[in-house]
Amino acid sequence: MKFLINPNKFNKFTDIIIKPLYLLSAICLVVGLLFSLYLSPNDYQQGSTVRIMYIHVPSAWLALLIFFIMTIYSIVGLAFKIPFAFIVNTAIAPIGTIFTIICLITGSLWGKPMWGTWWVWDARLTSVAILLLVYLIIVFINYSFTKIELKEKIVAIFIIIGSINLPIIKFSVDWWNTLHQPASISKFSSPSIDIAMLIPLLIMTLSFALIAVLISILRIKYEILSRKDKIS
């Protein structure tokens, strides 16, 4: 597991797995799309609009997963002064932003037929929007500072504060939502997905995750190189 912390071990390890990763993610994506668009049945209530779920839910999960990974890296980076952690931070931030944007767009596309409006101030939608805002700020800070070692520390602090703030916002938005208008009759219904729909969902999540890993590896390599030639 040393490759998670030190750059040249990371380079060695990723050189090995980069080739198979290309193949694997391509296959996974194709199979996932095939399954979700053709083979999986329509929903008993929504018909075929449910297929948006196969892109919406994985991107939401990945957006949160990437933010969580960035929080871990910034805590480790600040506490143990590991420069590689900040490199990873600057590398994966845009990927998380893209996934949150995908999640929001597909969410509102799905909301139009289901709820009748592009955007409804539902608890989840608002907190995902805030997550996008935090991501955008992180990317914005990344490009607005001049000194590198200054910039990465500020980004790390901001991620940590953001990670504390997100649960608070999630909680307060839920609360506000029930005060504002009752969001859902969650008391009565419990989410249950039928097996025939669960499989494509999992495959799609796996393919999204593989793509995310692939892109972040490439970006981290690029970040290491750009740091090296700036220094040498």
Partner: protein
């Protein structure tokens, strides 16, 4: 026991400085009232809408005008290095940022608190709601001061663009505004909301010294 004396003398210095340029606070208040007028003109004078949305507008404007006062938070002491001198007198940076938070709370947020009843008359809020508004603002303004400290200490590092600080304050004030407006609008059971707001205040109170101190040390190193 001379640390208490030192803390008191730093407070006295803050008090003198804020008293001497009290016109800054007046300009913030002036901005606050002008923007209330702007909103009232924008929304129109009928009681029903104002009554319903008034508190939200008031709170949003309070947050905006508190981001105005971020410029002077650490900037002056940091520029002329007197933050190093106070640190060398035996106060850790965390304690200095705490003193700054309290002095910002007393000298800049309290005038807002005093001006709130007048502002709420402008948006013809019911009388019994004003006391709730004052209570929620009392706690909310403390959170705003903490947020101000975090964002202005982050701004010390980045001379050119200053908007970053106010963005940070705005994002972190979302839970504050949700719960405080909730407190004012809730008819009878506002106690759970109040407890959550104080909870959030404690969280930010616990985080602020460490984050601001870290940013100050970073800024001093990379001056």
């Amino acid at each position: 026991m001379n640390t208490i004396q030192i803390i008191f003398s730093v407070f006295l210095k803050e008090y003198k400085i804020n008293l001497r340029n009290f016109n800054n606070v007046l300009t913030f208040l002036f901005f606050f009232f002008i923007s209330i007028f702007v909103f009232v003109f924008a929304i129109g004078p009928n009681k029903e809408i104002l009554n319903h949305t008034g508190v939200g507008i008031l709170w949003a404007l309070l947050i905006l005008s508190s981001t105005l006062s971020l410029k002077k938070y650490y900037q002056d002491d940091f520029e002329n290095g007197s933050i190093i001198i106070t640190h060398m007198s035996g106060l850790s940076y965390e304690l200095i940022s705490l003193i700054k938070v309290f002095s910002h709370f007393f000298f800049i947020q309290l005038p807002f608190l005093i001006s709130l009843p007048i502002a709420s008359i402008l948006i013809n809020l019911e009388i019994e709601k004003i006391s709730l508004l004052l209570l929620s603002f009392f706690i909310g303004s403390f959170i705003l001061s903490c947020l101000g400290s975090i964002s202005s200490s982050m701004n010390l590092l980045n001379k050119n663009n200053f908007s970053l600080g106010s963005i940070i304050v705005m994002i972190f004030s979302i839970p504050v505004i949700i719960f405080s407006v909730g407190i004012v609008n809730s008819e009878e059971n506002f106690l759970p909301l109040l407890k959550i707001l104080t909870g959030i205040a404690f969280i930010f109170f616990a985080i602020t010294p460490w984050v601001s101190a870290f940013c100050i040390k970073l800024a001093l190193a990379n001056k």
